[in-house]
Subunit: 312 residues, 2 copies
């Protein structure tokens, strides 16, 4: 086989087959006795993850943030971040100062630290973050667990990062650009939702809502109905790109780092006490459906897909 | 500043300053209550880590092995490995099968598994491994702890990987090439040495013995005398490259993945019961000295240096 292989189900399933039954969660989960240790790793590099407008501090922030978002999605408390940085030979001291300050500042903002790492020379700036966390065994949240009748919910607003990318590509000024460049993983919300015991399944939407729903549906062996009117669209997005494109971004654009989760029908109040959330639909037996004006159409999963394994 | 910055003390100390007091051990150490969680990450990529003769299975093996060697150096038991793989778009199924089988096989050989990861497209094959492990708090081995009078020891033989590289570069056949391409981290030895309670400090020699001694000396605030006649030279190395070059490789070539450690003077027998070892010198107050024929000369640290932080 030749050509670009990524996102191809054949490769992903081949890798899963070789490695054996790796469970498909935002983090890998290790039993440590009292608690679960959760661990996730994400490689970011210039070509695909760092837009030209991104400054080195933001590259550092982003690398830590995307990893911490996976910790949040398990309901876990972060316990440290490792950074392996492949730096171009021409990197100057300013760049290194800013990049490593970005790592440090994002970790500190979320109550954790950079505990170690590795630097190397690399033609293309390439940074792999690894985040570790702990979660009580009876509180851990996985992608499996959603049951028909549960309410489908999200934190925050959607499509903002997609809108930021669009604004930048079209040379517009917009607050959404900051949302794209300095994402804020939902660690407090993830912990509070776990503690509420109202949530049955959870993941982040870093690759877009549509792909998250597709993954949740597969892991929980359920379907979803999403009410388009209920989707919380990022402020200013419709005004900037129009309704149709805004809806597309809400479903398919990556980079939002909100939590998508399902709540037992009788326990919505408990979830609402944990954090601000929006009910965007409900869990059904099968299929992923978009409902608008009382009519349902089947959704085709789309989004930014380049992940495998247990730490999506 | 411009030009290649790696290995420069200025950058390394700058990063340490930005990140705060990261202890300089083979792994980062996290207190989990009963035990320590140890974690290490290493980025490998085609240009600097995978010689042309290396097949994809060996690339996979190597990536896991270098990380597990850091787990071994702490006296820890591995608990799982994460892999972030940036694969060139032209990678075919054979390459992916072999690469991921290499990850799996090395992990399995050492009693652990690949617990999760991330794949991405990358122009240059780039793989970051992260290994996790656990070690009893009273058994953990660090780079600090060596005291004057302790015996300096190593597992295995030295210079083999350097000899393998030389053989390959000179188009010679040699068993040492396998030693270079399929390194065997000393996990059993590391655990047994930790359990012996005879060891005061330990690290691996992945960047060469000289750099390991320099790091151990700095972390323990001591010096070393190394007896050149006592150094266990890899079988066939002197015959292939001559005595002078063999000694240079023993001191400075990377890739051996043996454990270098210090043993309390009265407890050498306990250490010997833990694993095969060679006493190569002793801990002194200051300086790193090579002793030959009863004469000492000061050693200048040399080796393959491209690391920082807590997971060297």
């Amino acid at each position: 086989m030749s050509g670009n292989v990524f996102g191809e189900r054949e490769i992903i399933s081949r890798i899963s087959e070789i490695l054996g039954g790796v469970e498909n969660d935002d983090c890998a989960v290790i039993d440590t006795g009292e608690k679960y240790l959760v661990a996730t790793t994400d490689m970011l590099h210039s070509k695909t993850d760092f837009p030209d407008i991104m400054n080195p501090w933001q590259m550092g922030w982003m690398t830590v943030a995307v990893n911490l978002s996976d910790i949040a999605a398990m309901g876990a408390q972060p316990a440290g971040v490792l950074i392996a940085a492949g730096l171009p030979p021409q990197s100057d001291l300013y760049f290194i100062d800013e990049l490593f300050s970005g790592f440090r500042d994002c970790a500190a903002y979320y109550g954790t630290t950079i505990i170690g790492g590795d630097t190397d020379s690399h033609d293309e700036l390439t940074i792999t973050g690894t985040a570790l966390g702990f979660v009580e065994k009876d509180l851990v949240l996985r992608r499996r667990g959603a049951r028909p009748g549960d309410l489908l919910c999200t934190t925050g607003a959607l499509g903002g990062a997609g809108g930021g990318l669009w604004a930048w590509q079209n040379s517009l000024e917009s607050d959404l650009i900051t949302k794209l460049l300095e994402p804020e993983p939902r660690l407090d919300q993830g912990r509070a939702l776990a503690r509420s015991r109202a949530v049955t399944a959870m993941m982040d939407n870093s690759d877009g809502l549509a792909l998250s729903l597709s993954d949740l549906a597969q892991c929980s062996q359920v379907g979803f109905v999403v009410r388009e009117e209920a989707l919380p669209v990022a402020a200013g997005l419709v005004e900037m790109v129009g309704m149709e494109k805004a809806r597309e971004m809400v479903m398919s654009a990556g980079g939002d780092f909100e939590l998508v989760f399902t709540v037992r029908p009788g326990e919505l109040d408990a979830a609402r006490r944990a954090c601000e959330l929006t009910v965007i639909g409900e869990v059904v037996e099968e299929g992923i459906w978009l409902e608008q004006g009382g009519k349902r159409r089947r959704m085709v999963a789309r989004g930014y897909e380049h992940w495998i394994g247990g730490t999506k």
